[in-house]
Symmetry: C2
Subunit: 468 residues, 2 copies
């Protein structure tokens, strides 16, 4: 039987909780007196349905039912979890939490999504104070894994079990503090950002670029301390702090209340860093960091955004305006390195990526004969209808490979290509054929190529005939 | 003809510059009196050769030659670019830069990699002060695109042209300031992190987790202000600041020197944000953000790291301990959603990803018959030697698809599977056959399956026979 959660407040954060629970198979009761709440939650759900399932290689559980309740009491009746997501006013939150506690089970996890208030403030005067904790999520709640849990240990452990089941990353915070952990960093960065803008040093765009083309990429995979551990190299974390330490006294930020770097503090950090990352050598961590960065930036390439857009533009430069190839020979279509994210549990390039390389080879061939980005923009393209691949040798991350392509058939809307993929050392890795049809992209139906392309294709096929 | 750059200092940053230039086809002169310099640079080059080419779908230019010079004068003779990467001591940097200027061309771009010093400090008393600028890169220099350029505008523009050619993202900083832009944020976060550790709120591991499972993912693609613009929703950036503003006066960080949020500052930020992101609606930005997050986290899945490791673990939970299927019927092997990063310029799932789905179907089949992770760990697996795919219908991001699999042949080390991929609406999208050989992973050679698996495969094939 499905479990039920209650979400109080249907804004961006509340809507995000609704989406996360519902898409992970929970029923959700929503309470929000705003007559627009259902529309707002639906908008968040639309985004979540588009993206959350795409994170997984398996189908998610059947989506739960979402019920908009008339009263708070009805919403929290008999539920396993409550997310309070009302505006950041302590008195309002206390009133809501009191009413929740009067109407829910003793076993319900009552959580507040507050960015700033401490559990001891929220549960001040409550009937069962230990039942009320902070579970602070990050926007978009349906994608970002982190949830900071603060408060009574037993209740936090119950919360952790539930959040684990939603695919989230619950982080148990040891001691309560204003703004928990993550928002303290966000606040420090925000304050520094305001200074930079006010002083005319940088615009919002320049600040964002400094982050997303720079340390943002590092932080998405290793955070702050592990990044510095790697940067510090074999000399270790204490040595790194020794080097970096003096900057604490320099005006590198306008934010100047700074802890003293005592030996005790340095040792504490170095020991914690050993416990965190000491099972990897610096060389291993460098390799892990680099492969992570490559995989993430390659992900951004697929979206043509940020660091990924930069890489796509550079690919264009590298492919360049090639001279017309000699079509009486096989055509050099691909020349590249195999990235680490193309390999699988067998320690070699996954079979599907051979198909990727041949797909890229067909794209390059089409570009060389004139079916290029402009042609596609005009509403025409080729769709593959049949592929046959013969795998001959393994290939590995870092291997340099190239593809030579030959035209087997070119007749009206039909094009058949033959590809051979070679290792830089000369070994034949793979061969295959691809049968394609020319299509009208608006009709999504096959049609003859535009006259200029048709003529070119026939001429190329004629030249290729000598290859047999 | 290849251009030449000089790098002074062969540490982590200097080595990174050497790698970036050499792998992008420049010759590089290195000067570093440390007898270990060549070994250290070689270690960085090894990492760079493994990762930088993997960012691109095209081969990089032929690698340049790296020459270790006996004197600084020899290193900077006739070069187009100098990177000064000596330790962060102003007097040392000034001495080195003076010697550089005495021995290089007037047209050489002389850049310092300094994290903190301003151009006006570095070029104080120089013969041609405008020739000396800051070009501050980020570790690892061969992968992270950002370089902060500070100093004389004409020299910075020359520097930008060179860095563009290396695939980097040069950011022209409007006014010089201690620590430029990015390191001001890093310093603020570092200071806050020291407090959190000192006060026993969080360990280095917990801080890193709060970053890499949380806002680090956001910052890698949108940075700070665009992220908040999206979070603020249709009400706009000024409204968002209004909500977030009061926190400036709360103790959300120990770093308390805070600019006043005047109307003028709020308007400045809102206007800059409009200029940066105003060409996208909030709905569009939400979709872009979500697709970026999915693509990056899917990238981290391939490395089984951070947010990606969490997703892989959850996939395992979702696949679960399935009951033995009824092998007299076709076997349900895949049930999933198509992610946005699997689509191509034709607006549909790329042909190679159909192969990916069938590859995953074969994995699931093998898992169900007992050739699971444990079996692979024991040193055995299956390699595909031939694949034939017939594409029948298009499929799109967000589509739910499933695969049913049938055994065509199972004989000694040979296994042949037939797959059908269906849309959730029932349409057949694609069918294909895969011919596999059982292999010994240590020998990388075909061999018969282990007795237990061989027996199971024969039994399954027998049951599947009825399917014809």
């Amino acid at each position: 039987m499905k479990q039920t959660a209650a979400v109080l407040g249907g804004g961006v954060i509340g809507g995000g909780w609704v989406a996360r629970f519902a898409l992970m198979g929970w029923n959700v009761n929503v309470y929000d007196p705003d007559p627009e709440a259902a529309r707002k939650v639906e908008a968040v759900l639309t985004n979540a349905r588009h993206s959350l399932p795409a994170l997984y290689e398996q189908a998610l559980p059947e989506e739960g039912e979402i019920q908009f309740c008339k009263t708070l009491a009805e919403a929290v009746n008999n539920v396993a979890w409550v997310s309070e997501c009302v505006p950041e006013r302590l008195d309002l939150k206390q009133t809501v939490l009191t009413e929740v506690q009067a109407n829910c089970l003793d076993t319900t996890v009552i959580s507040s999504s507050t960015s700033g208030f401490k559990p001891s403030e929220l549960n001040d005067g409550a009937t069962r104070p230990e039942q009320i904790i902070v579970a602070h999520p990050f926007n978009p709640v349906y994608l970002i894994p982190l949830v900071e849990l603060v408060g009574d240990n037993a209740t936090c452990l119950n919360a952790k079990a539930i959040l684990d089941g939603l695919g989230m990353f619950p982080l148990l915070v040891r001691k309560e503090i204003d703004a928990h952990i993550a928002d303290r960093f966000l606040e420090a960065v925000w304050r520094e950002g305001l200074w930079l803008i006010k002083d005319g040093i940088a615009t919002t765009q320049e600040i964002d670029d400094a982050i997303r083309y720079g340390f943002g990429l590092r932080w998405a995979q290793m955070g702050l301390f592990e990044t510095y551990r790697v940067a510090g190299g074999e000399a270790g974390m204490a040595h790194f702090i020794g080097q970096f330490g003096p900057a604490l006294e320099w005006p590198w930020t306008k934010l100047m209340d700074v802890p003293e770097l005592t030996d005790e503090l340095v040792t504490m950090i170095a020991d914690q860093s050993d416990a965190q990352s000491g099972h990897h050598s610096i060389r291993e961590l460098e390799r892990i960091r680099d492969d992570n960065l490559v995989a993430m930036m390659r992900g951004l390439k697929t979206q043509n955004w940020g660091a990924g857009e930069l890489l796509n533009d550079f690919d264009q430069k590298l492919f360049g305006n090639r001279p017309e190839p000699d079509f009486s020979k096989m055509i050099a279509t691909v020349n590249r390195t195999i990235p680490a994210d193309w390999t699988d549990y067998n320690g070699h390039m996954n079979e599907a990526r051979y198909g990727q390389v041949f797909s890229d080879a067909a794209d390059a061939f089409m570009q060389l004969v004139g079916a290029d980005a402009e042609y596609i923009k005009a509403g025409f393209s080729f769709f593959t209808v049949d592929t046959h691949i013969r795998y001959i040798e393994e290939c590995h991350a870092g291997d340099r490979v190239s593809v030579n392509t030959k035209v087997l058939l070119c007749e009206g809307k039909k094009v058949q290509l033959y590809h051979e993929m070679n290792h830089a050392d000369g070994r034949l890795l793979c061969s295959g054929e691809q049968f394609m049809l020319h299509v009208d992209l608006n009709q999504r139906k096959s049609c003859p190529p535009r006259a200029d392309l048709a003529e070119k294709l026939v001429a190329v096929a004629e030249q290729q005939k000598a290859l047999g």
